[in-house]
């Protein structure tokens, strides 16, 4: 395969297609619109299903229906639109049907703006709707990762029959970078639980309704055990220069990527700084983080929000080391220099006090 210069939104769309997505339902919203627009012609070209829904609510419920047929299906949106999908997401998760949802996060709360942000971390990782469950959440930091994690998203969705959210931000959606697309995969066959007409078999029924507390609790336990499997097997993260680091920086997606530049610069200045960049936000790579927490003096969390993954980091390190936070909000993307300043100050304070 050759490398192409690809826009994040387009790359995700094409990756989904190569992963065998059979239907896309979506509603325009900046900064993910190009993904929808790409699907509009590409899916039609391939004779697959593309439909611009009347709203994000309709889109997620179309996804719900389409997913019930056993097909690989997808929708994408950005923060306000993602908020509108909460009820539908909760239904999907409760019904054990796989679905992939892209949240190309933008500045919030409210209408906010269309600039890159990570303000939906809580919403994507904690529940995405009412009731007890957590979606699998993947956080790409580059166009290539957007492709790779989109492919992974479909596999995980099918494997666990669970909702997978690709949580990126406007910068990743809008940016072009060289990247390599995987080969086209064949469409997956419909699984036995799919709704396709009860021909020669007992009816299949998909629902999230459990009138009685006992059956509802059993359904919840099923979800929880699925989640603990996911916690056990699916934690993923990348590291840079953590071997001898005194200060560990952590951040995901765009913030994590920019933090890498800052960490590299800090290393050039001789500071023993390392980076852990989670690829999965749920399951949060707590195992790896707690291993690293044993080694470093302190940890700095960088996010494009007011401090959300911060909770997961603090939970993972469990008070072992001081954890500090640096965040920009409302669509401001921190610059490498800015992070370098923050890192070196903190380094002097906590890791190598004079």
């Amino acid at each position: 395969m050759t490398r192409e210069l690809l826009k994040g939104n387009v790359a995700i769309g094409e990756a989904a297609i190569r992963a065998g997505v059979q239907a896309y339902f979506g509603y325009p919203i900046t900064p993910q619109t190009e993904l929808l627009e790409y699907m509009a012609w590409r899916m039609a070209d391939l004779g697959r299903v593309f439909l611009q829904a009347e709203s994000e609510i309709a889109a997620i419920n179309m996804v719900y229906g389409a997913a019930c047929t056993g097909a690989r299906v997808m929708t994408s949106s950005s923060s306000p639109g993602f908020s509108l999908m909460q009820e539908g997401l909760s239904y999907i998760a409760a019904s054990d049907v796989p679905a992939v949802v892209v949240d190309m996060m933008r500045g919030g709360p409210g209408l906010g703006n269309i600039l890159p942000s990570q303000g939906d971390y809580f919403q994507v990782t904690r529940s995405a709707g009412h009731g007890d469950y957590r979606p699998i959440v993947l956080a790409p930091a580059s166009v290539q990762e957007a492709i790779d994690l989109t492919m992974l998203a479909f596999d995980l969705a099918d494997r666990y029959r669970h909702v997978v959210i690709l949580a990126a931000d406007g910068q990743i959606g809008q940016m072009m970078e060289p990247a390599e697309l995987p080969p086209m995969q064949p469409l997956t066959a419909a699984p036995p639980w799919a709704l396709r007409g009860a021909q020669g078999r007992a009816p299949n029924r998909i629902s999230s309704l459990y009138m009685h507390a006992e059956s509802a609790e059993a359904a919840n336990r099923r979800i929880q055990s699925r989640l603990s499997q996911i916690r056990q097997y699916e934690q993923r993260s990348l590291e840079y220069a953590t071997e001898d680091a005194e200060l560990l920086v952590t951040g995901y997606g765009t913030a994590g990527r920019i933090a890498l530049s800052a960490v590299q610069a800090a290393r050039e200045q001789g500071l023993k700084v390392g980076l852990l960049r989670p690829l999965t936000l749920f399951p949060f790579p707590e195992e790896r983080l707690s291993v690293l927490a044993d080694r470093v003096q302190a940890c700095l969390v960088v996010e494009m929000n007011a401090g959300q993954m911060l909770d997961d980091v603090r939970l993972a390190v469990g008070g072992q080391i001081p954890v500090e936070f640096y965040g920009r909000m409302g669509g401001v993307v921190p610059m490498p220099d800015e992070l370098l300043t923050v890192i070196s100050r903190m380094y002097r304070r906590v890791a190598a006090p004079a």
Partner: protein
């Protein structure tokens, strides 16, 4: 038993195969049960049971997906048309049905209904209009009649404050995507027969891919209306029918052909 079923007697009316054998939770005399039976009979008649997917609503018919002997699912409140769209787009040769109450379809779900209708999604909606929110205990629905006492309009529905009854068939018949939009009633035997015919026609329209089809059924809620089942039928006749006239609101040319064929 006053009469024995002698060997010479033949069954002329039996439980349709498309109905599951389970007990339903509907209240005594609730015509949801009749609507279910008619749908099942229609599917049986057309031999569609094994290729049908039913989308149940949130409302008293929330268990509908269990009450039919076929593939089914349970939509979020009001979103059955979106869910059905998702299914039908993936499986265009299957029969897809939504079954929705008036709160579900006309209140929270009106956007999804209108857009599915405007797109001409070729599935069939059975719209059970009992002019009230049955499941949640009898609140006003958009279909409640002027002056109707409900638990959220304790003084009777004041249309100046709470709005005017929303006439769904009339509202959507003008949309180009609709092929077959009719209203029937379940308040007496003759009406039930006509309702059945309409459901059969709607399914044929769907099979022909002629567009969106909807059969509205005027139905009872004895429990929340505070009436006996028999009085509830009379209430439909005396109060609902004048407001919601039965009739064919849209039969497109393609639908006509499909019905004939």
């Amino acid at each position: 038993m006053l009469q024995e079923i002698t060997p010479v007697m033949l069954p002329v009316y039996e439980r349709p195969a498309a109905l599951a054998g389970v007990h339903t939770h509907y209240c005594p005399g609730c015509t949801h049960g009749i609507a279910h039976r008619l749908v099942a009979e229609a599917l049986d008649e057309l031999g569609l049971r094994e290729q049908t997917i039913m989308v149940a609503p949130v409302g008293c018919a929330v268990f509908a997906y269990q009450y039919f002997e076929m593939d089914g699912c349970e939509a979020a409140h009001g979103r059955a048309p979106a869910m059905a769209t998702g299914i039908k787009r993936l499986l265009p040769d299957r029969t897809v049905l939504t079954y929705q109450g008036d709160g579900d379809l006309a209140s929270i779900g009106i956007a999804e209904l209108i857009h599915a209708a405007a797109r001409g999604e070729p599935f069939t909606t059975i719209f059970v209009n009992n002019a009230i929110y049955g499941m949640t205990g009898g609140q006003m629905s958009p279909e409640s009649l002027e002056g109707q006492r409900t638990s959220s309009t304790p003084g009777g529905r004041d249309v100046q404050r709470t709005g005017f009854p929303l006439k769904v068939c009339e509202l959507i018949a003008g949309l180009e995507g609709t092929a077959y939009v009719v209203r029937r009633s379940l308040h007496d035997v003759a009406s039930i027969r006509k309702a059945k015919k309409a459901i059969v026609t709607a399914l044929k329209v769907q099979q022909a891919g002629a567009g969106f089809s909807l059969v509205e059924l005027l139905s009872t809620c004895p429990t929340n209306w505070g009436l006996t089942p028999a009085d509830a039928l009379t209430w439909v006749e005396e109060h609902m029918l004048p407001q919601y006239p039965v009739g064919d609101y849209k039969v497109s040319a393609a639908a006509l052909r499909a019905a004939a064929g």
